[in-house]
Protein backbone atom coordinates (compact mmCIF):
# COMPACT_ATOMS: atom_id res chain seq x y z
CA UNK A 1 0.00 0.00 0.00
CA UNK A 2 1.51 3.32 -1.03
CA UNK A 3 1.50 6.72 0.66
CA UNK A 4 -1.67 8.51 -0.36
CA UNK A 5 -2.93 12.04 -0.94
CA UNK A 6 -5.04 11.73 2.19
CA UNK A 7 -2.03 10.89 4.37
CA UNK A 8 -0.18 13.93 3.04
CA UNK A 9 -3.20 16.16 3.65
CA UNK A 10 -3.67 14.88 7.20
CA UNK A 11 0.04 15.38 7.89
CA UNK A 12 -0.03 18.94 6.51
CA UNK A 13 -3.02 19.90 8.67
CA UNK A 14 -2.00 18.14 11.86
CA UNK A 15 1.64 19.23 11.84
CA UNK A 16 0.76 22.91 11.68
CA UNK A 17 -2.11 22.66 14.14
CA UNK A 18 -0.07 20.67 16.69
CA UNK A 19 2.94 23.01 16.41
CA UNK A 20 0.76 25.94 17.52
CA UNK A 21 -0.45 24.20 20.70
CA UNK A 22 2.42 22.22 22.13
CA UNK A 23 5.87 23.34 23.20
CA UNK A 24 8.29 20.45 22.51
CA UNK A 25 9.39 18.48 25.57
CA UNK A 26 13.10 19.25 25.07
CA UNK A 27 12.32 22.99 24.97
CA UNK A 28 10.33 22.72 28.22
CA UNK A 29 13.21 20.81 29.74
CA UNK A 30 15.56 23.58 28.62
CA UNK A 31 13.36 26.19 30.34
CA UNK A 32 13.24 24.12 33.54
CA UNK A 33 17.03 23.76 33.54
CA UNK A 34 17.39 27.52 33.01
CA UNK A 35 15.12 28.14 36.04
CA UNK A 36 17.76 26.44 38.18
CA UNK A 37 20.78 28.29 36.79
CA UNK A 38 19.26 31.75 36.29
CA UNK A 39 20.49 34.34 38.83
CA UNK A 40 17.97 37.11 38.00
CA UNK A 41 14.64 36.99 39.82
CA UNK A 42 12.80 38.78 36.98
CA UNK A 43 14.25 36.23 34.56
CA UNK A 44 13.18 33.29 36.75
CA UNK A 45 9.66 34.71 36.90
CA UNK A 46 9.55 34.96 33.10
CA UNK A 47 10.81 31.39 32.65
CA UNK A 48 8.19 30.21 35.13
CA UNK A 49 5.49 32.09 33.21
CA UNK A 50 6.68 30.53 29.95
CA UNK A 51 6.33 27.05 31.41
CA UNK A 52 2.90 27.96 32.78
CA UNK A 53 1.81 29.32 29.38
CA UNK A 54 2.98 26.13 27.66
CA UNK A 55 1.14 23.96 30.16
CA UNK A 56 -2.10 25.97 29.86
CA UNK A 57 -2.11 25.88 26.05
CA UNK A 58 -1.43 22.15 26.03
CA UNK A 59 -4.14 21.40 28.58
CA UNK A 60 -6.75 23.60 26.87
CA UNK A 61 -5.68 22.49 23.39
CA UNK A 62 -5.36 26.14 22.40
CA UNK A 63 -2.60 28.26 20.81
CA UNK A 64 0.47 29.29 22.83
CA UNK A 65 0.86 32.46 20.72
CA UNK A 66 -1.72 34.47 18.81
CA UNK A 67 0.67 34.83 15.89
CA UNK A 68 0.42 31.52 14.07
CA UNK A 69 3.01 32.70 11.60
CA UNK A 70 3.13 31.04 8.22
CA UNK A 71 3.82 27.32 7.93
CA UNK A 72 7.07 26.14 6.43
CA UNK A 73 7.43 22.42 5.67
CA UNK A 74 10.47 20.25 5.04
CA UNK A 75 9.69 17.05 3.18
CA UNK A 76 12.17 14.20 2.93
CA UNK A 77 11.32 11.35 0.59
CA UNK A 78 12.97 8.03 1.40
CA UNK A 79 14.28 5.91 -1.46
CA UNK A 80 12.08 3.02 -0.29
CA UNK A 81 8.89 5.08 0.03
CA UNK A 82 6.18 4.31 -2.48
CA UNK A 83 4.08 7.30 -3.36
CA UNK A 84 0.72 7.24 -5.05
CA UNK A 85 -0.10 10.91 -4.66
CA UNK A 86 0.41 14.39 -5.99
CA UNK A 87 2.61 15.39 -3.06
CA UNK A 88 2.82 19.11 -3.81
CA UNK A 89 -0.89 19.51 -4.58
CA UNK A 90 -1.87 17.60 -1.44
CA UNK A 91 0.24 19.82 0.82
CA UNK A 92 -1.43 22.83 -0.75
CA UNK A 93 -4.96 21.39 -0.41
CA UNK A 94 -4.26 20.17 3.14
CA UNK A 95 -3.22 23.68 4.11
CA UNK A 96 -6.21 25.27 2.33
CA UNK A 97 -8.57 22.98 4.22
CA UNK A 98 -6.84 23.66 7.53
CA UNK A 99 -7.24 27.44 7.35
CA UNK A 100 -10.96 26.97 6.71
CA UNK A 101 -11.58 24.48 9.51
CA UNK A 102 -9.03 24.93 12.31
CA UNK A 103 -10.43 25.57 15.80
CA UNK A 104 -9.70 28.18 17.03
CA UNK A 105 -9.33 30.01 13.72
CA UNK A 106 -5.92 31.44 12.84
CA UNK A 107 -5.40 35.13 12.13
CA UNK A 108 -4.61 36.32 8.62
CA UNK A 109 -0.84 36.44 8.61
CA UNK A 110 -0.03 35.46 5.02
CA UNK A 111 1.32 38.72 3.60
CA UNK A 112 1.70 39.76 0.00
CA UNK A 113 5.12 41.47 0.18
CA UNK A 114 4.29 43.79 -2.71
CA UNK A 115 0.98 45.15 -1.41
CA UNK A 116 1.23 44.26 2.31
CA UNK A 117 -2.29 42.82 2.10
CA UNK A 118 -2.89 39.98 4.52
CA UNK A 119 -5.02 36.88 4.16
CA UNK A 120 -4.81 33.12 4.65
CA UNK A 121 -3.62 32.52 1.11
CA UNK A 122 -0.85 33.63 -1.22
CA UNK A 123 1.77 32.76 -3.80
CA UNK A 124 3.94 29.77 -2.76
CA UNK A 125 2.01 29.34 0.52
CA UNK A 126 2.67 27.10 2.37
CA UNK A 127 6.45 27.30 1.96
CA UNK A 128 7.79 23.81 1.23
CA UNK A 129 11.31 22.42 0.68
CA UNK A 130 11.92 18.91 -0.67
CA UNK A 131 14.79 16.52 -0.14
CA UNK A 132 15.57 12.82 -0.47
CA UNK A 133 16.94 10.20 1.91
CA UNK A 134 18.73 7.11 0.69
CA UNK A 135 17.79 3.86 2.38
CA UNK A 136 14.71 5.21 4.19
CA UNK A 137 11.35 3.57 3.63
CA UNK A 138 9.23 6.51 4.67
CA UNK A 139 8.36 10.11 3.88
CA UNK A 140 9.21 12.55 6.65
CA UNK A 141 7.51 15.92 7.01
CA UNK A 142 8.57 18.64 9.44
CA UNK A 143 6.51 21.78 10.04
CA UNK A 144 7.94 25.02 11.42
CA UNK A 145 5.43 27.87 11.66
CA UNK A 146 7.41 31.09 11.33
CA UNK A 147 6.37 34.61 12.32
CA UNK A 148 7.95 38.04 12.24
CA UNK A 149 8.85 37.96 15.95
CA UNK A 150 11.83 35.66 15.58
CA UNK A 151 11.87 35.39 11.77
CA UNK A 152 12.95 38.94 11.04
CA UNK A 153 16.30 38.68 12.86
CA UNK A 154 17.84 36.03 10.64
CA UNK A 155 20.96 37.18 8.80
CA UNK A 156 23.46 35.93 6.24
CA UNK A 157 26.81 37.27 5.19
CA UNK A 158 29.41 36.10 2.71
CA UNK A 159 33.04 35.82 3.75
CA UNK A 160 36.16 34.75 1.90
CA UNK A 161 38.27 32.08 3.60
CA UNK A 162 37.10 33.17 7.09
CA UNK A 163 38.82 32.05 10.28
CA UNK A 164 36.73 30.48 13.04
CA UNK A 165 37.17 33.76 14.88
CA UNK A 166 35.58 35.75 12.05
CA UNK A 167 32.69 33.30 11.86
CA UNK A 168 32.01 33.31 15.59
CA UNK A 169 32.34 37.09 15.85
CA UNK A 170 29.73 37.45 13.13
CA UNK A 171 27.34 35.08 14.92
CA UNK A 172 27.78 37.02 18.17
CA UNK A 173 27.13 40.32 16.37
CA UNK A 174 23.92 38.95 14.83
CA UNK A 175 22.86 37.96 18.36
CA UNK A 176 23.64 41.47 19.64
CA UNK A 177 21.63 43.05 16.85
CA UNK A 178 18.65 40.75 17.50
CA UNK A 179 18.85 41.62 21.19
CA UNK A 180 15.73 40.24 22.82
CA UNK A 181 13.32 40.94 20.00
CA UNK A 182 12.93 37.25 19.15
CA UNK A 183 11.24 36.17 22.41
CA UNK A 184 14.17 34.54 24.21
CA UNK A 185 15.39 32.12 25.38
CA UNK A 186 15.74 31.08 21.75
CA UNK A 187 17.41 28.31 19.79
CA UNK A 188 19.97 29.69 17.34
CA UNK A 189 20.71 27.88 14.11
CA UNK A 190 23.97 28.55 12.29
CA UNK A 191 24.96 27.43 8.81
CA UNK A 192 28.52 27.67 7.51
CA UNK A 193 29.61 27.18 3.90
CA UNK A 194 27.96 25.65 0.87
CA UNK A 195 26.30 28.29 -1.25
CA UNK A 196 24.04 31.24 -0.44
CA UNK A 197 20.82 29.21 -0.59
CA UNK A 198 22.27 25.99 0.84
CA UNK A 199 23.77 27.78 3.84
CA UNK A 200 20.47 29.45 4.77
CA UNK A 201 18.73 26.06 4.71
CA UNK A 202 21.45 24.55 6.93
CA UNK A 203 20.92 27.28 9.54
CA UNK A 204 17.15 26.97 9.47
CA UNK A 205 17.27 23.18 9.86
CA UNK A 206 19.56 23.56 12.88
CA UNK A 207 16.86 25.56 14.69
CA UNK A 208 14.72 22.43 14.37
CA UNK A 209 17.30 20.08 15.88
CA UNK A 210 16.13 18.93 19.33
CA UNK A 211 18.01 20.43 22.27
CA UNK A 212 20.49 18.34 24.21
CA UNK A 213 21.93 16.36 21.30
CA UNK A 214 25.68 16.77 21.04
CA UNK A 215 26.96 17.68 17.58
CA UNK A 216 28.84 14.62 16.17
CA UNK A 217 31.44 16.95 14.63
CA UNK A 218 33.92 17.81 17.47
CA UNK A 219 34.88 21.22 16.03
CA UNK A 220 31.22 22.18 15.85
CA UNK A 221 30.37 20.71 19.27
CA UNK A 222 33.03 22.97 20.80
CA UNK A 223 31.83 25.95 18.76
CA UNK A 224 28.25 25.39 19.90
CA UNK A 225 29.28 25.43 23.57
CA UNK A 226 31.43 28.51 23.07
CA UNK A 227 28.68 30.42 21.28
CA UNK A 228 26.02 29.41 23.81
CA UNK A 229 28.14 30.69 26.69
CA UNK A 230 29.02 33.84 24.73
CA UNK A 231 25.47 34.76 23.74
CA UNK A 232 24.17 34.11 27.25
CA UNK A 233 26.92 36.33 28.64
CA UNK A 234 25.39 39.24 26.67
CA UNK A 235 22.75 39.42 29.39
CA UNK A 236 19.53 40.08 27.45
CA UNK A 237 17.70 37.31 29.32
CA UNK A 238 14.19 35.85 28.91
CA UNK A 239 11.98 38.36 27.00
CA UNK A 240 14.83 40.88 27.21
CA UNK A 241 14.38 42.15 30.72
CA UNK A 242 17.85 40.95 31.72
CA UNK A 243 19.27 37.61 32.81
CA UNK A 244 21.63 34.75 32.03
CA UNK A 245 19.38 32.88 29.63
CA UNK A 246 19.12 34.31 26.11
CA UNK A 247 19.68 31.03 24.24
CA UNK A 248 18.74 27.47 25.20
CA UNK A 249 21.06 26.17 22.53
CA UNK A 250 23.21 27.11 19.54
CA UNK A 251 23.19 24.51 16.78
CA UNK A 252 25.71 24.61 13.95
CA UNK A 253 26.07 22.69 10.69
CA UNK A 254 28.37 23.15 7.74
CA UNK A 255 28.79 22.20 4.11
CA UNK A 256 31.89 22.28 1.97
CA UNK A 257 31.99 25.02 -0.60
CA UNK A 258 34.39 27.28 -2.43
CA UNK A 259 36.50 30.00 -0.79
CA UNK A 260 33.48 32.24 -0.49
CA UNK A 261 31.87 31.12 2.72
CA UNK A 262 28.34 32.15 3.61
CA UNK A 263 27.48 32.22 7.31
CA UNK A 264 23.77 32.18 8.13
CA UNK A 265 22.13 32.68 11.50
CA UNK A 266 18.47 32.29 12.42
CA UNK A 267 16.34 31.90 15.49
CA UNK A 268 13.41 29.97 16.92
CA UNK A 269 11.57 31.69 19.79
CA UNK A 270 11.13 30.07 23.21
CA UNK A 271 8.05 28.16 22.03
CA UNK A 272 10.27 26.34 19.53
CA UNK A 273 7.35 25.51 17.27
CA UNK A 274 8.18 22.38 15.34
CA UNK A 275 6.47 19.06 14.65
CA UNK A 276 7.34 16.05 12.54
CA UNK A 277 5.76 12.93 11.14
CA UNK A 278 7.05 9.84 9.40
CA UNK A 279 4.72 8.11 6.98
CA UNK A 280 5.26 4.52 5.90
CA UNK A 281 4.00 2.59 2.91
CA UNK A 282 1.65 0.58 5.15
CA UNK A 283 -0.22 3.74 6.17
CA UNK A 284 1.44 4.16 9.57
CA UNK A 285 2.01 7.74 10.73
CA UNK A 286 4.45 8.32 13.56
CA UNK A 287 4.19 11.79 15.10
CA UNK A 288 7.14 13.53 16.70
CA UNK A 289 8.43 16.91 17.85
Amino acid sequence: MPITDEMIQVATRELYSRALRKVPEDAKEGLRAAMKSETSEIARRTLDLQLKSAELAERKDRFVCSDSGVPTYFVKIGSGAVLDCDLKASIRSGYEELVETIDPPILKHVTNPLTLERSHHGKEMPLVSYDFESGADYVEMICSPKALGSGRWAALELFTFPSLEEIETYVLDVAIKAGAQHCPPVVMGVGIGGSFDYCAALAKKQTLRPLGKVNPEPVLAAMEERLKTAVNALGFGPMGTGGDTTVLGVHVDYASGHGFTPVAVCFNCWINRRTSVKMWNDGRMEWGE
Binding site: L49, S53, L56, R62, D67, E168, T169, I176, G235, M239
Partner: protein
Protein backbone atom coordinates in the same frame (compact mmCIF):
# COMPACT_ATOMS: atom_id res chain seq x y z
CA UNK B 1 16.17 42.84 46.16
CA UNK B 2 12.87 41.18 45.57
CA UNK B 3 10.54 42.28 42.78
CA UNK B 4 7.87 44.83 43.75
CA UNK B 5 4.29 44.06 42.70
CA UNK B 6 1.53 46.59 42.01
CA UNK B 7 -2.19 46.44 41.34
CA UNK B 8 -3.33 49.27 39.05
CA UNK B 9 -6.82 50.36 38.07
CA UNK B 10 -7.45 52.03 34.70
CA UNK B 11 -7.74 54.86 33.79
CA UNK B 12 -4.79 55.92 35.90
CA UNK B 13 -3.28 59.26 36.91
CA UNK B 14 0.29 60.40 36.52
CA UNK B 15 1.12 60.09 40.22
CA UNK B 16 0.28 56.37 40.26
CA UNK B 17 2.38 55.84 37.14
CA UNK B 18 5.38 57.61 38.61
CA UNK B 19 5.46 55.16 41.52
CA UNK B 20 6.42 52.38 39.10
CA UNK B 21 10.06 51.53 38.51
CA UNK B 22 11.66 49.48 35.73
CA UNK B 23 11.64 45.83 36.82
CA UNK B 24 8.45 46.08 38.91
CA UNK B 25 5.54 43.74 38.21
CA UNK B 26 2.05 45.10 37.50
CA UNK B 27 -1.47 43.63 37.31
CA UNK B 28 -4.05 45.80 35.54
CA UNK B 29 -7.79 46.02 36.05
CA UNK B 30 -10.16 48.13 33.96
CA UNK B 31 -10.40 48.99 30.29
CA UNK B 32 -7.45 48.63 27.92
CA UNK B 33 -7.09 49.26 24.19
CA UNK B 34 -5.35 46.74 21.97
CA UNK B 35 -4.10 46.62 18.39
CA UNK B 36 -1.27 44.92 16.52
CA UNK B 37 -1.56 46.85 13.26
CA UNK B 38 1.06 49.00 11.59
CA UNK B 39 -1.64 50.61 9.40
CA UNK B 40 -3.62 51.19 12.60
CA UNK B 41 -0.77 53.20 14.10
CA UNK B 42 -0.59 55.26 10.89
CA UNK B 43 -4.33 55.90 11.18
CA UNK B 44 -4.05 56.85 14.86
CA UNK B 45 -1.42 59.42 13.90
CA UNK B 46 -3.93 60.71 11.36
CA UNK B 47 -6.46 61.03 14.17
CA UNK B 48 -4.25 63.27 16.27
CA UNK B 49 -3.53 65.32 13.14
CA UNK B 50 -7.28 65.78 12.75
CA UNK B 51 -7.82 63.63 9.65
CA UNK B 52 -10.46 61.45 11.33
CA UNK B 53 -11.96 60.81 14.74
CA UNK B 54 -10.26 58.41 17.17
CA UNK B 55 -12.19 55.16 17.51
CA UNK B 56 -12.04 55.59 21.31
CA UNK B 57 -10.98 58.30 23.72
CA UNK B 58 -7.80 56.93 25.38
CA UNK B 59 -6.74 59.76 27.70
CA UNK B 60 -5.07 58.40 30.88
CA UNK B 61 -5.55 54.95 29.40
CA UNK B 62 -3.49 52.00 28.20
CA UNK B 63 -2.87 51.23 24.52
CA UNK B 64 -1.15 47.89 24.06
CA UNK B 65 0.47 46.16 21.12
CA UNK B 66 -1.68 43.07 21.38
CA UNK B 67 -2.97 40.98 18.51
CA UNK B 68 -6.35 39.35 18.96
CA UNK B 69 -8.87 37.21 17.19
CA UNK B 70 -11.98 39.26 17.88
CA UNK B 71 -15.44 38.91 16.46
CA UNK B 72 -18.93 40.32 16.60
CA UNK B 73 -21.66 37.73 16.93
CA UNK B 74 -24.90 37.84 14.91
CA UNK B 75 -26.60 39.20 18.05
CA UNK B 76 -24.11 42.06 18.25
CA UNK B 77 -22.17 40.49 21.12
CA UNK B 78 -18.39 40.96 21.05
CA UNK B 79 -15.82 38.40 21.98
CA UNK B 80 -12.12 37.68 21.87
CA UNK B 81 -10.97 34.14 21.23
CA UNK B 82 -7.33 34.85 22.10
CA UNK B 83 -4.92 37.74 22.49
CA UNK B 84 -1.18 38.03 22.86
CA UNK B 85 1.52 40.69 22.44
CA UNK B 86 3.23 41.69 19.22
CA UNK B 87 6.64 43.32 18.65
CA UNK B 88 6.44 46.93 19.86
CA UNK B 89 9.63 48.13 18.16
CA UNK B 90 7.67 48.03 14.89
CA UNK B 91 5.93 51.14 16.19
CA UNK B 92 9.07 53.05 17.24
CA UNK B 93 8.35 55.81 14.77
CA UNK B 94 4.71 56.25 15.89
CA UNK B 95 4.83 56.01 19.67
CA UNK B 96 6.79 59.21 20.47
CA UNK B 97 3.86 61.15 18.96
CA UNK B 98 1.02 58.86 19.96
CA UNK B 99 1.94 58.90 23.67
CA UNK B 100 1.32 62.65 24.10
CA UNK B 101 -1.19 62.82 21.24
CA UNK B 102 -3.55 60.26 22.72
CA UNK B 103 -2.66 61.11 26.34
CA UNK B 104 -1.49 57.58 27.13
CA UNK B 105 -0.37 56.65 30.63
CA UNK B 106 0.46 53.07 29.74
CA UNK B 107 1.65 51.30 26.64
CA UNK B 108 3.25 47.90 26.15
CA UNK B 109 3.67 44.74 24.19
CA UNK B 110 6.86 42.79 23.72
CA UNK B 111 10.42 43.80 22.93
CA UNK B 112 10.29 47.36 24.27
CA UNK B 113 10.47 50.72 22.52
CA UNK B 114 13.24 53.10 21.44
CA UNK B 115 15.00 55.70 23.56
CA UNK B 116 12.95 58.35 21.77
CA UNK B 117 9.75 56.68 23.01
CA UNK B 118 11.24 56.38 26.50
CA UNK B 119 11.89 60.13 26.44
CA UNK B 120 8.26 60.77 25.44
CA UNK B 121 7.17 58.54 28.34
CA UNK B 122 9.30 60.43 30.85
CA UNK B 123 8.01 63.75 29.58
CA UNK B 124 4.35 62.77 29.62
CA UNK B 125 4.17 60.35 32.55
CA UNK B 126 3.75 57.01 30.79
CA UNK B 127 5.18 53.50 31.28
CA UNK B 128 5.86 50.54 28.99
CA UNK B 129 4.67 47.18 30.30
CA UNK B 130 6.25 44.00 28.95
CA UNK B 131 4.02 41.04 28.19
CA UNK B 132 5.27 37.50 27.81
CA UNK B 133 5.43 36.70 24.09
CA UNK B 134 3.59 33.43 23.64
CA UNK B 135 1.36 33.99 26.66
CA UNK B 136 -1.96 33.83 24.83
CA UNK B 137 -3.72 31.60 27.36
CA UNK B 138 -2.50 33.57 30.36
CA UNK B 139 -3.59 36.95 29.00
CA UNK B 140 -6.82 35.80 27.39
CA UNK B 141 -7.91 34.42 30.77
CA UNK B 142 -7.96 37.95 32.24
CA UNK B 143 -10.57 39.23 29.75
CA UNK B 144 -13.84 40.08 31.48
CA UNK B 145 -15.65 41.65 28.55
CA UNK B 146 -15.08 43.20 25.13
CA UNK B 147 -16.67 46.64 25.15
CA UNK B 148 -15.91 47.86 21.66
CA UNK B 149 -14.29 47.06 18.33
CA UNK B 150 -12.97 50.11 16.50
CA UNK B 151 -12.33 50.07 12.77
CA UNK B 152 -14.00 46.68 12.19
CA UNK B 153 -13.32 46.95 8.45
CA UNK B 154 -9.66 46.08 9.11
CA UNK B 155 -8.37 42.50 9.58
CA UNK B 156 -8.89 41.21 13.11
CA UNK B 157 -5.50 41.97 14.66
CA UNK B 158 -5.35 45.45 13.10
CA UNK B 159 -8.57 46.70 14.75
CA UNK B 160 -8.57 48.78 17.91
CA UNK B 161 -10.30 46.69 20.54
CA UNK B 162 -11.54 47.99 23.89
CA UNK B 163 -11.38 45.27 26.50
CA UNK B 164 -12.32 45.12 30.15
CA UNK B 165 -9.69 43.08 31.98
CA UNK B 166 -9.31 41.82 35.51
CA UNK B 167 -5.78 41.50 36.88
CA UNK B 168 -4.17 41.41 33.43
CA UNK B 169 -0.64 40.21 34.10
CA UNK B 170 1.93 39.64 35.32
CA UNK B 171 3.42 42.49 33.28
CA UNK B 172 6.95 43.76 33.85
CA UNK B 173 7.69 47.49 33.80
CA UNK B 174 10.15 47.54 30.89
CA UNK B 175 10.40 51.33 30.65
CA UNK B 176 9.36 53.56 33.55
CA UNK B 177 8.24 57.19 33.58
CA UNK B 178 11.66 58.34 34.80
CA UNK B 179 13.62 57.42 31.68
CA UNK B 180 14.83 54.03 32.89
CA UNK B 181 14.56 51.29 30.26
CA UNK B 182 15.48 47.63 30.78
CA UNK B 183 15.85 47.36 27.00
CA UNK B 184 18.39 50.17 26.81
CA UNK B 185 20.32 48.92 29.83
CA UNK B 186 20.53 45.33 28.53
CA UNK B 187 21.56 46.52 25.05
CA UNK B 188 24.23 48.79 26.52
CA UNK B 189 25.43 45.97 28.76
CA UNK B 190 25.71 43.60 25.80
CA UNK B 191 27.74 46.12 23.76
CA UNK B 192 29.97 46.86 26.75
CA UNK B 193 30.71 43.15 27.30
CA UNK B 194 31.31 42.32 23.60
CA UNK B 195 35.12 42.73 23.66
CA UNK B 196 35.54 40.64 26.83
CA UNK B 197 33.30 37.92 25.46
CA UNK B 198 35.26 37.80 22.20
CA UNK B 199 38.53 37.56 24.17
CA UNK B 200 37.11 34.68 26.21
CA UNK B 201 36.10 32.86 23.02
CA UNK B 202 39.58 33.42 21.58
CA UNK B 203 41.12 31.86 24.66
CA UNK B 204 38.77 28.86 24.49
CA UNK B 205 39.58 28.32 20.81
CA UNK B 206 43.29 28.38 21.59
CA UNK B 207 42.83 25.70 24.26
CA UNK B 208 40.70 23.61 21.88
CA UNK B 209 43.41 23.89 19.23
CA UNK B 210 46.00 22.70 21.76
CA UNK B 211 47.75 26.05 21.87
CA UNK B 212 48.65 28.06 24.92
CA UNK B 213 46.43 30.77 26.27
CA UNK B 214 47.87 34.23 25.96
CA UNK B 215 47.77 36.12 29.21
Amino acid sequence: MSVREHELALPVDRAAIEVLRAGDVVYLTGEIFATAGLPTHERLLGCIEGREAVPFEMKDGALFHLGSLNEEGADGSLRIVYMNPTTSTRFNKHMPRLIPGLGLRVTGGKGGLSAESAAAMAENGCVYLAFLGGGAQIFTASIRKVTGIGWPEMVSHYRVVRIEVERLGPLTVGIDAHGSSLYDSTAQGASARREDILAQMRAERAVAAGGSVKP
